[in-house]
Amino acid sequence: MEPAVQLRGAVTLLGRFPALAGIDLDVAAGEIVLLRGPNGAGKTTLLRLCAGLLSVSRGTAVVLGHDLPHRRAVRALRRRVGLLGHATGLYDELTVADNVRFWGRAAGASREDIAGALAACGLDGRLGDVLVVNLSAGQRRRTSLACLLARRPELWLLDEPHAGLDQDGRDLVDGLVHRAVASGATVVLASHDLDRAEALADRVVTVAGGTTTTGITSGPPAEPAPEVARVS
């Protein structure tokens, strides 16, 4: 099976600054990979590269079979990935349901997909009618997750997915990740919540080299993944 992500000597510049300096990375389809590393190591940049938001200046980057330097490939790729970043991308003046509906429909999601995503994230009912500006940080995170889930991406790119969530929310993330993988998706996540994230991942990849990442090493997870909460 074709790897979901294949980077060879990938260099990404932010201005003149090499945020990624020659990265090699392989992620197999259906795998859950954790990116580990200190602040500024380039984890977020790596996720943004995989999402097609950044380009490679040197080297090659093939994600879901799309060769990233090509603009058409980038646009085709973006329809197939979901990125949960630090920013939520939500519109404060719209309700939770309006946001999920908009981002879902933008990706061609059906009404059932959107309703299912809201229900899976515990946002159906009255919470769906609340304006995003009135949500707590955790509820905003859940809404972002629902937007991502409605898109039904083939590659989930999760940047600190457990941040700002309570215990139920963290269990929800883990459950959604396992459900996504069970349905054939691939997950790459970056996290500082190592105990939980390592337990979730099939494989741990260390992004090293500070802001000028120079290499990646791989290793097995610290312990087997535990049972996670089932999400309807």
Binding site: L53, V81, H86, A87, T88, Y91, D92, L94, A107, L131
Partner: protein
């Protein structure tokens, strides 16, 4: 493309309906500007009547700046721009949708301003077909050019101050053409106004075409 445009326009208009920025800020601003022109030129009501077309369109231009700023401020908040790039929406659809939403807000402004000009400046409305055609063509041009320059400025830190400097010179043909057409319709010879209306239409078509083609690149690069 048109499905995406409809989705985008619906979203932007829903945000405006919920936030009421157009209703509670842009429309009162438009009336305020009309009143200020009236105060400044009141000693000679004849001037107000003769200049009503130009005053109307200068006020529309100011309101267009506010609407365009607003249209891109909502996308700049909390990573909205990246989300838009990742959304899978056709960039041409995003452009047309945002332009349509801005145009809808400008039409509301123009209706209110028309009433204001008639009531406050004592302008007699004649040549209604030319007035309506001018409003439609000029509004389409303002919205299309505004959306294009809006996304260009949106990626910059100084966008609030830069947008008027970039946009107002570009919109000068709209101001001239729409004012001339209004002057012809309001007391002049209506037939003299139609060529100006044609110019506005050409301007609108040019920017709609260019925006449809270039918006994706500007969204990515700016």
């Amino acid at each position: 493309m048109f499905r995406d445009a409809s989705l985008m326009a619906g979203k932007d208009l829903r945000i405006e309906l919920r936030s009421r920025v157009t209703l509670q800020q842009v429309l009162p601003f438009a009336v305020l500007v009309l009143i200020l022109f009236g105060i400044a030129l009141d000693p000679d009501r004849g001037v107000l009547g003769r200049a009503s077309g130009g005053l109307f369109w200068v006020t529309v231009l100011f309101c267009a700046l506010l609407a365009i700023q607003r249209a891109f401020t909502i996308e700049a908040a909390d990573g909205g721009r990246d989300a838009l790039r990742l959304s899978g929406l056709d960039p041409a659809g995003i452009f047309l949708g945002k332009a349509a939403a801005i145009a809808a807000q400008l039409v509301a402004v123009e209706v209110l301003l028309a009433a204001g000009v008639v009531i406050m400046y004592g302008t007699e409305v004649t040549g209604v077909p030319l007035l309506l055609a001018t409003c439609l063509a000029a509004t389409a041009g303002l919205a299309a050019a505004g959306t294009l320059y809006g996304v260009l400025a949106a990626g910059l830190r100084v966008r609030e101050t830069l947008l008027p400097i970039l946009l107002l010179p570009v919109l000068t043909p709209v101001l001239i053409g729409a004012t001339k057409a209004f002057e012809a319709a309001l007391g002049g010879v209506a037939a003299d106004g139609w060529p100006w209306c044609g110019l506005l239409l050409v301007f609108a078509l040019l920017y709609l075409t260019f925006g449809t083609l270039a918006f994706g690149t500007l969204l990515e690069e700016s």
